[in-house]
């Protein structure tokens, strides 16, 4: 039941390991920067892999009130501060918000639990529990920016961000809101690092998406916030859209708890359905912003899916942002949507770092180690694939009036 309402992006805020604003992160991405640094939130000496794409200290905002905010709240508020400015008083009172995360304030949770194991309940650091549950980050967002409704938190693993954008888009398309917010954030706690390490999914070397020698992912920290509006509302407010969010699709593989379906069937279907939702064909897509984690299973199946859909479109390029900013989990879908929107704004496809020997499943020439200017870049397809086979795809389009 697709409506005719056009949904546009009019605000964005981004904090990543390579920049503390959207523009700084974008320019650093184009320049081939990497946010990879040694993890410091927990004792990394217990682990063989040591590196994450961690936020620099400058990326986190100050404490708020009597209690210091947890890192997840600080980074979400920093990104929101950039995205939500300039919309006027009471702009968010009736706006729905969908906030994506995989683990919320788990960093605080792990610190509490360690103190509990060491000192028992009586001696445990209970102050750490204040921001442990995911809705606490949302509550800080509400209080800081005057949201009248509690945001709905989306916890669909690595596709949470894309699904949050999809839900926000539905609000506007179905006429329930003229403006909506989609956000995503995650911090690398010992819980998630230990989990991915136990799964043998972390590469001790920098991750190399779609490389023959790839050996896993690099976890990353980030927060991204996007403001979606109906095109009419943006015009009324005199806001020129950054891009149009023209398509969304979700698909469940029902194959395995963690592994993707190896033929790429699920990835192909969600990309195809997303294009259908937008009323577009594969040859219109200038770039696929891939999930591209650097794991053996993801990249092979994703390459198969891309070639199945875009095999007749040699001009369709592929980029994988996780090589620079890491796999930011709940934030990934929003982070990569922002980079996709900036690609459309500037007509540039960002580089994919570290990849040297591209796998044969992916057509030669689609991926590049340096940024590429592309004439007529009109549509970027951004994909996310998560644990539980939760697949999501978004189509972002260059804004055209009329």
């Amino acid at each position: 039941m697709r409506s005719d309402k056009r949904v546009v992006i009019t605000g964005c805020g981004l904090v990543t390991s390579i920049g503390d604003t959207a523009e700084r992160s974008w320019q650093a991405l184009l320049g081939g920067a990497s946010g990879r640094r040694e993890a410091t939130r927990f004792d990394i000496n217990r682990y063989a892999p040591r590196f994450v794409c961690a936020l620099p200290p400058s990326a986190e905002t100050e404490a708020d009130g009597a209690f210091p905010l947890d890192a997840a709240s600080r980074v979400l508020l920093a990104a929101a501060g950039e995205a939500l400015q300039g919309y006027g008083e009471d702009a968010w009172r009736d706006a729905p918000a969908y906030v994506a995360t995989t683990l919320g304030g788990m960093d605080n949770g792990t610190h509490f639990y360690r103190s509990y194991l060491q000192h028992g309940l009586a001696g445990a650091d209970r102050a750490r529990l204040k921001d442990y549950i995911p809705f606490m980050q949302c509550r800080h967002l509400m209080q800081r920016h005057g949201f009248g409704r509690m945001p709905m938190i989306v916890t669909n693993a690595c596709s949470s961000g894309a699904n949050a954008l999809g839900l926000a888009m539905m609000e506007i398309r179905q006429g329930h809101a003229r403006r909506a917010v989609a956000a995503g954030y995650d911090i690398v706690s010992e819980f998630v690092f230990g989990g991915f390490n136990a799964l043998r999914l972390i590469d001790p070397e920098p991750c190399r998406p779609f490389d023959i020698h790839r050996n896993g992912l690099t976890l990353g920290e980030a927060a991204g916030v996007l403001v979606l509006e109906s095109a009419d509302e943006a015009a009324r407010g005199g806001r020129r859209p950054l891009a149009e969010l023209s398509g969304y699709a979700g698909w469940i593989e029902a194959y395995h708890c963690t592994k993707p379906e190896p033929t790429g069937e699920g990835a192909w279907r969600v990309m195809r359905d997303c294009l259908a939702d937008a009323g577009q064909t594969p040859d219109a897509v200038g770039c696929v912003n891939a999930h591209g984690t650097g794991t053996p299973s993801n990249d092979t199946m994703e390459a198969l899916a891309i070639e199945r859909l875009f095999g007749d479109c040699p001009h369709t390029l592929v980029t994988a942002n996780k090589a620079s900013v890491g796999h930011t989990l709940g934030a990934a879908g929003v982070v990569e949507a922002i980079f996709s929107a900036l690609s459309l704004r500037d007509g540039v496809v960002p580089p994919t770092r570290h990849t040297q020997d591209v796998i044969p499943e992916l057509r030669a020439g689609r991926l590049a180690p340096a940024a590429r200017r592309v004439e007529g870049l009109d549509h970027v397809l951004s994909t996310s694939y998560g644990f539980g086979g939760t697949n999501a795809a978004l189509l972002l389009s260059r804004w055209r009036d009329g």
Partner: protein, 327 residues
């Protein structure tokens, strides 16, 4: 004729978990002709909350009488506040105590991510429709009925299994017991589940179903009265939810309940189940409504009001009797 505000129908409802006073709210009468598709599923090694969610969902599906084809075309929405905390605590305990953390079982990690219950249910259902694992503040649980309506309206799914589940670890029980918000309450782990289908436009009542509106947010009592009037619900029985921080509104004509009432009020200072209990409130509102009648569940929190309406279908001659209140 005004468009009906009802956008979804409950075909089956079920509960699974620790014994509690609200489990009977999920005995939604649904005249399923035959037991639905069997979903044999090995629940060993699943976190407790996940096992509850699966069992409740399977039963709701069976009561709805959905066959395999129907099931494979249904989406999933799952809500929790605490998530699979028992397994997540165990995983992190092992991570802390194991000399080499790489040797900790990855299964514990996988089974403690927040969307694991949705994952297992979609695997069992073999559905490819979208699935959404959601989380909210405890007091905002009912708002998921807006998200469900949105998914139906957008064509993402025509049917859905919705479950609301929570569990309490030993540590969690100790921590919550120390919270002033839960004085002396017992914490009950479990899951409630609904088998839902989208309703489009107005139509005759069907036997054995409950119709739901979406969850609506309104800014004030005046706006609340106006929206209820506009939706044709001005005469509905009103159940004033206890999860409110405002005094009850003035009595409206036809209002059958004033002040704090409903399931939560009756159970205050006795039992607390978080997500599943909040779902039970919706069914409790229906239980307090005569066949063919409508109830409005209202909640006020932090200066915002919200409501949803439930209509008990009769299908004409096959009227469904009221449930006895077993609180």
């Amino acid at each position: 004729m005004a468009e009906s505000p009802f956008v979804m129908r409950i075909r089956g409802a079920a509960w699974n978990g620790e014994p509690c006073a609200w489990a009977d709210r999920f005995d939604t009468p649904a005249p399923a002709a035959a037991r639905g598709v069997e979903l044999a599923y090995n629940t060993r090694r699943l976190d407790e909350m996940v096992a509850y969610a699966l069992a409740a969902s399977f039963e709701a599906i069976a009561r709805a009488g959905w066959d395999r084809a129907t099931l494979e075309a249904a989406g999933v929405v799952g809500l929790s506040h605490n998530g699979p905390c028992i397994y997540s605590e165990e995983f992190y305990r092992q991570l802390c105590e194991e000399e080499n953390p790489a040797l900790v079982s990855p299964t514990l990690f996988v089974e403690s991510v927040l969307n694991v219950a949705c994952t297992h249910l979609t695997l069992a259902m073999k559905t490819h429709r979208p699935a959404f694992a959601l989380n909210t503040d405890l007091a905002h649980s009912h708002e998921v009925f807006h998200t469900l309506a949105l998914l139906f309206e957008s064509g993402q799914m025509a049917r859905a299994v919705y479950f609301a589940c929570d569990e309490f670890s030993t540590l969690g029980r100790a921590l919550f017991a120390a919270c002033p918000e839960f004085p002396g309450e017992q914490f009950v782990g479990g899951a409630g589940a609904l088998a839902l289908e989208a309703v489009h436009g107005s139509g005759p009542d069907e036997a054995g179903g409950l119709l739901l509106t979406r969850w609506h947010s309104v800014a004030s009592f005046d706006a609340l009265q106006g929206t209820l009037d506009a939706a044709g619900l001005a005469d509905a029985v009103r159940i004033w939810s206890p999860w409110s921080d405002a005094p009850p509104p003035p009595a409206w004509p036809g209002s059958a309940a004033e002040g704090v009432s409903g399931l939560g009020a009756a159970l205050q200072q006795r039992e607390q189940g978080f997500a599943s209990m909040r779902l039970a409130e919706v069914l409790d509102a229906a239980a307090q409504t005569p066949p063919g009648g409508t109830a409005v569940l209202v909640q006020a929190l932090r200066g915002r009001l919200g409501w949803l309406a439930i209509k008990k279908e009769t299908g004409g001659a096959d009227a469904v009797p009221n449930q006895e209140q077993g609180v």
